[in-house]
């Protein structure tokens, strides 16, 4: 058997088992997701410049007079799409397209701000619990459990009923409500990394706590946390939209996708698309974010799977 291999004595080096590190490569659903999210982000920044009307403008009846018709006072609410209002009008006769464009700023802005607060609070406390351990961990975790056990929408209802609904209150409240779930994830990921040998190696080296947290722990929980960020952002959008739908979120005349669904519900029997357009907007944004998140996590999951081979 061995004679067949005799001519060329191979060099018996250590067999390599580590292929080059894979960079993030998005598949086409991920790219679609990025395109859609990118589209909405552009809208957020350019809404006032591209919107045909202001969000609170009730369109003039004169605009809806069909040339040649002798009707002086045409209806302006729940109009079908036309050259005057490309997506039609809402229940007060406001331009739906402009409200969607303006609403993007409010909906995405509030949700993003609230998610950031949730992450700031959740990660800080979660890592504190993971690193501090012992009594600090127990105290924080039990408090968090108690907070989690209250249905979030009920909690929001009570707080808003007590102190009113302004945009800053809405942001902070939503942020705190979602911080509880971020706390849980950050704590358990942190605990996993805390006991790893490289953290122990840093401790033996005499590194300070801050260095260990910022250099050893945070980079290692960043990927799963980023995946979670996308999902959490979607939940926050839906949460704020539901609050607005109940009339407790963003207050009129400011437009917001969630409240737009609610206020235009009456148009459904007339065949108006007014409640559907904001719902579709929420749908595209959340689905697009999920497409990106799926792609990123499939990528990191793929690496995990490969490591197990």
């Amino acid at each position: 058997m061995s004679d067949a291999h005799a001519p060329k004595p191979p060099a018996y080096n250590e067999l390599p088992d580590a292929p080059p590190r894979r960079r993030i490569q998005l598949t086409w659903p991920g790219k679609v997701g990025i395109a859609v999210v990118g589209f909405w982000m552009i809208i957020v920044f350019t809404a006032p410049f591209i919107a045909p009307y202001h969000e609170a403008d009730i369109l003039d009846e004169a605009l809806f007079i069909v040339p040649g018709s002798d009707e002086k006072y045409p209806e302006t609410d729940f109009q079908s799409p036309s050259k005057v209002a490309y997506l039609g009008t809402d229940y007060l006769g406001r331009d739906l397209l402009s409200r969607i464009l303006y609403g993007a700023r409010v909906t995405i802005g509030i949700s993003l701000a609230a998610t950031f607060i949730a992450y700031l609070v959740g990660i800080t406390l979660g890592i504190a619990a993971a690193v501090g351990g012992g009594k600090l961990d127990s105290a924080l975790s039990r408090f968090n459990d108690a907070f989690l056990s209250i249905p979030s929408i009920m909690l929001a209802l009570v707080v808003i009923a007590a102190i009113g609904s302004t945009i800053p209150i809405l942001i902070v409240l939503t942020g705190l409500i979602y911080a509880t779930s971020v706390f849980r994830i950050a704590r358990s990921l942190g605990l996993d990394v805390m006991v790893s040998d490289f953290v122990e190696a840093a401790r033996v080296r005499g590194e300070g706590l801050w260095w260990i947290i910022t250099r050893e722990i945070l980079p290692n929980i960043a990927m799963p946390m980023a995946t979670d960020f996308g999902l959490r952002f979607v939940y926050v959008i839906l949460f704020i939209s539901s609050l607005s739908f109940l009339g407790l979120g963003v207050q009129p005349p400011t437009s917001d996708w969630g409240s737009m669904v609610r206020e235009n519900l009456a148009g459904l029997p007339y065949g108006s698309i007014a409640p559907l357009v904001p719902a579709l907007a929420i749908g595209t944004l959340t689905v697009a974010i999920n497409l990106i998140v799926d792609d990123v996590s499939a990528h990191s999951g793929g690496r995990l799977a490969r490591r197990m081979i």
Binding site: S2, H5, Y12, E14, D197, F198, A201, V204
Partner: protein, 603 residues
């Protein structure tokens, strides 16, 4: 009649992300006859597990069969539909994985799991399967075979669990067993008992087996024929007698050279006078340590009891013992990761604060810890230059170009290409990672390196290379080493002095040569006798000897009074050994044995 299993020009490729095929197994052919054990041997990456799994018609995800055939009794199983293959798995071909602890479901009783496959396949009824399981427990020398099936996996020891895996695989009377490194993770004393059980049960059942391992000495004990693999290709194929005694191929010879010789006197390096006999580099004095917090500052579970070890400058002290004897705890006490409840750790004669955070940076710098698993000890999110750069910056204050120069020096010191500085740990192989792990400890320019099982996770050749590297580093740097291992041969080839730990106590210590030559402590003797030798028939001889039998199948018990080794010791004196602490016998040259038996009796 066709052979039981015939692997014919088998080719398996891996599909890369770009869709290219990379050959993993390159046309391998061999056969397994009934009642025969064929060993597949090679280092990691040689394709041995991939080939073994093909006998189950299985490939790991990302791999595909691209040529050849695997015939079980003449039928090519690679072309069978999945449901037929599924029926064949576990019934006709059974697989035994490396880690029993990971294979057993902690929530089910042992009996349920051992009989599960046979019952599922309809080979046996539940009661038949239970009877069969009990027979197998008896054949495998397991304690209390009648009631064992009702216990849970955590209630038996690791070695017993490994044998239960064999029972699980054999329960449905498969034609072929595939054993994937079943003893690699075990202590020598446990390994010998598992090997013995496997061998006798395979003979008794007349089953055929494929035995995958990287350890040639284990193969010599159990296999009838050996297939030597390198990079997915057969290098040598022959009977065990041929391959072990008359190896033809270079690679086989190289594998044999990497097998460390059985520990014996005369292996330790001569102590040179080059290093002055001043205060020892590191010294632990009457250390008692453990985990948990009990009454009066005493630990809840004491792991180390009254341990004294001193490491002279430039010396290598090997710490050896079975898992659970406290050797890693000793290293953690030295490093300050676990403060001792009593006793002190001295660095160059001055006592170190027991807690890590009370130690000064200079003190920390002098004692560096090398972790066992390089996979987990290197931060996967940091590149090699950051991993190595941090201790350089932290302890030596070097920055910029000086730091880079030092990183390059370190990489050269551990024989890695300088270009690796820009890689991430996952882009390195296991042996390379372990080198980086060592380089990181060396980056601090320490006086003492604590190496905790640094080569235990590596296979023979890679491990041997790392030992060579350690020897060279020691000559170059004059660093003292504390070298912890459960593998006596490794320790014997590298250490100047050996400390034998048993149940948290030092039972014997002294220069390597004197520890490895009589008089022995009975436990040291057991350890030496349990190291497999690279010759056919060693297992039978070892089992016949009294020393090896003594250690079989008893857990380590920590005792408060008497000698902890009492219940396993073949020469224990009842009434004395279990009541009184063994006296310390000093035999000159710093050789100390703790035993009631006198000089002549222990040898």
């Amino acid at each position: 009649m066709p052979p039981l299993l015939e692997v014919d020009a088998l080719a398996i490729d891996a599909r890369t992300e770009d869709g290219e095929l990379v050959p993993i197994v390159k046309g391998v052919s061999f056969e397994v006859q009934r009642g025969e054990v064929v060993a597949l041997i090679g280092e990691s990456g040689s394709g041995k597990t991939t080939i073994a799994l093909s006998s189950l018609g299985y490939t790991k995800p990302g791999l595909e069969f691209t040529g050849g055939a695997v015939r079980l009794e003449g039928e090519n199983i690679l072309t069978l539909p999945l449901d037929v293959i599924r029926d064949l798995r576990g019934r006709r071909v059974a697989y035994l994985a490396q880690s029993a602890a990971a294979t057993f479901n902690p929530a089910l009783t042992i009996g349920e799991q051992v009989t599960e496959s046979a019952v599922l396949h309809g080979t046996l009824t539940v009661s038949e399967a239970n009877t069969r399981a009990t027979e197998l427990y008896r054949a495998l020398d397991l304690p209390d075979p009648e009631r064992l099936g009702r216990r849970y996996p955590h209630q038996v020891s690791g070695g017993q669990l490994q044998r239960l895996m064999a029972a699980m695989a054999l329960c449905g009377k498969p034609d072929l067993l595939v054993l994937d490194e079943p003893t690699t993770a075990l202590d020598v004393t446990t390994q010998i008992e598992v090997l013995k059980a496997f061998k006798s049960v395979i003979q008794h059942e007349g089953a055929a087996a494929i035995y995958v391992t990287h350890d040639l000495s284990v193969v010599a004990q159990i296999a009838d024929r050996i297939v030597v693999l390198y990079a997915g290709d057969i290098q040598e194929y022959g009977t065990t007698h041929q391959v072990i005694n008359y190896p033809v191929h270079d690679y086989t010879r190289r594998l044999m050279a990497a097998v460390r010789p059985p520990p014996a006197a005369g292996q330790g390096d001569e102590l040179t006078g080059a290093h002055e006999r001043e205060a020892p580099a590191l010294e632990v004095k009457s250390i008692t340590a453990g985990y948990g917090r009990g009454k009066g500052g005493e630990p809840l579970v004491t792991v180390l009891r009254d341990v004294n070890v001193s490491i002279e400058r430039g010396h290598v002290v090997g710490v050896i013992g079975e898992s659970g004897c406290g050797k890693s705890t000793l290293a953690r006490v030295m490093a300050g990761l676990l403060p001792a409840s009593q006793g002190e750790v001295r660095l160059s004669g001055t006592a170190l604060p027991p807690r890590l955070r009370d130690r000064s940076r200079a003190q920390l710098q002098k004692v560096q810890f090398v972790f066992q698993m390089a996979d987990t000890a290197l931060n996967p999110r940091q590149r090699i230059d950051r991993i190595l750069g941090r201790p350089i910056e932290f302890y030596l204050g070097l920055k910029g170009a000086n730091k880079r120069r030092r990183i390059n020096e370190l990489l050269q010191m551990v024989e890695l290409p300088v270009a690796f500085a820009s890689r991430y740990p996952e882009e390195l192989s296991g042996g390379q990672k372990q080198r980086v792990n060592l380089a990181r400890a060396l980056a601090a320019a320490p006086e003492v390196l604590l190496c905790d099982e640094v080569i235990s996770a590596l296979d023979t050749i890679v491990g041997a290379n790392v030992i060579e590297l350690l020897k060279r580093l020691r000559e170059q740097t004059g660093v003292s080493f504390v070298f912890i291992s459960h593998d006596l041969s490794t320790v014997a080839s590298f250490a100047d002095e050996i400390v034998v730990l048993y149940a948290g106590r030092v039972v014997e210590q002294g220069p390597t040569d004197t520890v490895l030559s009589p008089p022995y402590h009975p436990y040291t003797r057991l350890l030496i006798a349990s190291v497999p030798e690279l010759r056919v028939g060693w297992l039978e001889e070892a089992m016949a000897s009294q020393a090896a039998q003594a250690g079989i199948d008893r857990g380590v018990t920590l005792t408060d009074v008497g000698c902890p080794f009492f219940d396993r010791c073949p020469i224990a004196i009842p009434g004395t050994c279990d009541r009184e602490d063994p006296p310390q016998q000093t035999l000159g040259m710093g050789h100390v044995i703790q035993c009631h038996r006198g000089d002549g009796e222990t040898s």
